[in-house]
Every structure is written in C-alpha cells, then in structure tokens.
C-alpha cells in the first residue's frame, strides 16, 4: 500500500478531484483480478488449505444502510485521507498524528454498536 502511495492523503485528494488515474488504477486492477479470482473459485468449487469449500456469503440487500453508511465513511475518508487499513500503515510510517484518527475510528465503531438498533438498515 505505502509503496504505491495509496496511504497518502494527497493521493486520495487527487482521486476525489478526478485529477489522476493512479488510485483508480490500483482499485481497478485489484477489482478486475478479484472478479476473476472469485469467478474461478466458484466455477471450479475450489477449496481452502484445510479442504473446506471457499464460501462467499452474499451481502444482505438493503438500500439506506449501504448508502448512508457509505456516505458517512466517504466524508471521513476524504478528510483524513485514509481508510481503516492505511491508517495502520501510517502508524508504521511513523505519522503519529494518525493515531488521533484511529482513536476516532474506534470511537465511531463503538457508537455505531451502541445505537445500531435505532438506525435505519
């Protein structure tokens, strides 16, 4: 992640301003390969290392949940320039201030758990 600069706030800004192909190239390559991998695993009913079938659980259909939740996520993603994975890569990179965002993310997760029954899903 860090070697392709996907953990950089600048790269996320560039993505949301549609000013470079870079981030779209990263996500696009991963998705195209991911679709092929998933298709092949399903088609040939491939198994994992213990011999169990690899199962893809379909996501439960809903509209508000994904749209509202996704939008809130996006608001924060553009602001901090980091989604959850890159937050932790940034710790390794010794950008210590990202720890504030990590604390925020854990608090946000906790609040969701606490009020989830009252939110539209």
């Amino acid at each position: 992640m860090s070697k392709s600069e996907a953990i950089s706030w600048f790269r996320i800004q560039e993505m949301f301003r549609f000013q470079s192909f870079h981030m779209y190239g990263i996500i696009g390559t991963a998705v195209v390969l991911g679709i092929i991998i998933t298709y092949v695993i399903k088609k040939y009913k491939l198994r994992d290392f213990q011999g169990n079938p690899i199962i893809f659980t379909p996501k439960e259909m809903s509209f508000p949940r994904y749209l509202i939740g996704g939008t809130i996520f996006g608001l924060g993603w553009a602001l901090t320039g980091a989604c959850p994975g890159p937050m932790f890569v940034n710790i390794g990179f010794q950008y210590w201030s990202i720890l504030i965002a990590v604390v925020g993310a854990i608090a946000g997760t906790y609040l969701y758990g606490a009020i989830k029954d009252r939110l539209p899903h």
Partner: protein, 185 residues
C-alpha cells in the same frame, strides 16, 4: 534491486498485490475486510459487557488482528528501508487546487498542514483527524465494510450492496472535497 524497490511502485503492482492478499486470505478460509478489526478492538477492550454488538468471541478474529500488525510492520519497513524520501508525485492540477486552500505541495507522504504534530495538536487539526476518523469508523460499520470489504471483496463477488456502498463512499468523499474543505481551510 534496492534502488528499484525504493522508488514508488506503479499502480498496477499495488492492485495485483491487493488481489493476491485477497486470494491468500480466501485460501486460508478467511475473507478480506479490514474495518472488522475496529469492532474486534472494541470487543477486546471489553465493550461486549455493555453493548451486545461487541459481545462475540473476538479471539476468533486474531488472524485479522495479525493482519493489522502486519500492516503496521509493512509501513515501518517501507518507510525505514525502502523509501527514497521523495514527495508524492501528484498531478499539477491537484497541487494548484490544494494550494488555493492553503495546503502546500507534498514534501513527503502527508500534508504538513494536517499531519505535523504541531498541526495535529492545534484545535483544527485535531478535530479534522478525530472527526474524520470517527466518520470512517462509524460509516464503515454502518455500511458493513470499508474499501477492502466492499470495494474489493464485495465488488469482486458482484454484490449490488457493495456497489451501493462504494457509490456512498464517493458521495461522501466528493462532498468533503468540494463543499467541506473550502469551508474548513
């Protein structure tokens, strides 16, 4: 070799590596989704006693926590041994847009105006990081996944919910970029 490794890598290498990470996790009977770790951390800190959502056997998720530790170690190795210390090569258009907001051109990976310790402990910088992180954590759990779970794993499995979530990621991201940021900076 080291010189080659020290340069920024092109986008397709990262895309391939991300897909391989997903493949390896599937092979080991797991799935690729990073933000679940935030729920696991809440649970490991004892949140299950007060909130039912966190009342599960978090130890079963140890593998994903190890993945998290790996992400930190990977960042450390990249910064200590495989970095040439050059600024991120973003487009000229982005540099111009950001300088209009008062954010100077990249000097490293992250903008000084937000990430330097001085900025991070100013009220504005602190709130940007805290509230931004809060929205990421809250939104990821609400939507049931983040970039890895939805944009990569979900769309790879052609899941409509994941596509809706990714559209949401962009609605939120574009709103922050084009509406909120000119107000904040």
């Amino acid at each position: 070799m080291l010189e080659f490794l020290s340069q920024p890598w092109p986008w397709y290498t990262s895309g391939i590596v991300i897909a391989l990470v997903m493949l390896v996790l599937l092979f080991f009977g797991k799935s690729f989704g990073f933000s679940s770790n935030l729920r696991t951390i809440c649970s490991a800190c004892g949140a299950g006693k007060t909130v039912k959502f966190f009342d599960f056997d978090w130890r079963s998720q140890t593998w994903n926590l190890l993945f998290l530790v790996g992400a930190i170690i990977g960042g450390f190795i990249a910064s200590e041994f495989l970095s040439n210390g050059e600024a991120v090569q973003i487009s000229q258009a982005t540099i111009q847009d950001l300088s209009a907001l008062g954010i100077s051109a990249p000097d490293g990976m992250q903008p000084e105006e937000i990430f330097s310790l001085e900025s991070a402990f100013s009220l504005k910088g602190f709130l940007i990081l805290l509230l931004g992180g809060f929205a990421v954590g809250f939104g990821a759990r609400y939507a049931g996944g983040c970039t890895s779970g939805h944009a990569i794993s979900g769309i790879s499995n052609l899941q409509l919910p994941s596509l809706i979530a990714v559209i949401g990621f962009f609605i939120g991201g574009l709103f922050t970029t084009w509406v909120l940021m000119p107000l904040i900076f």
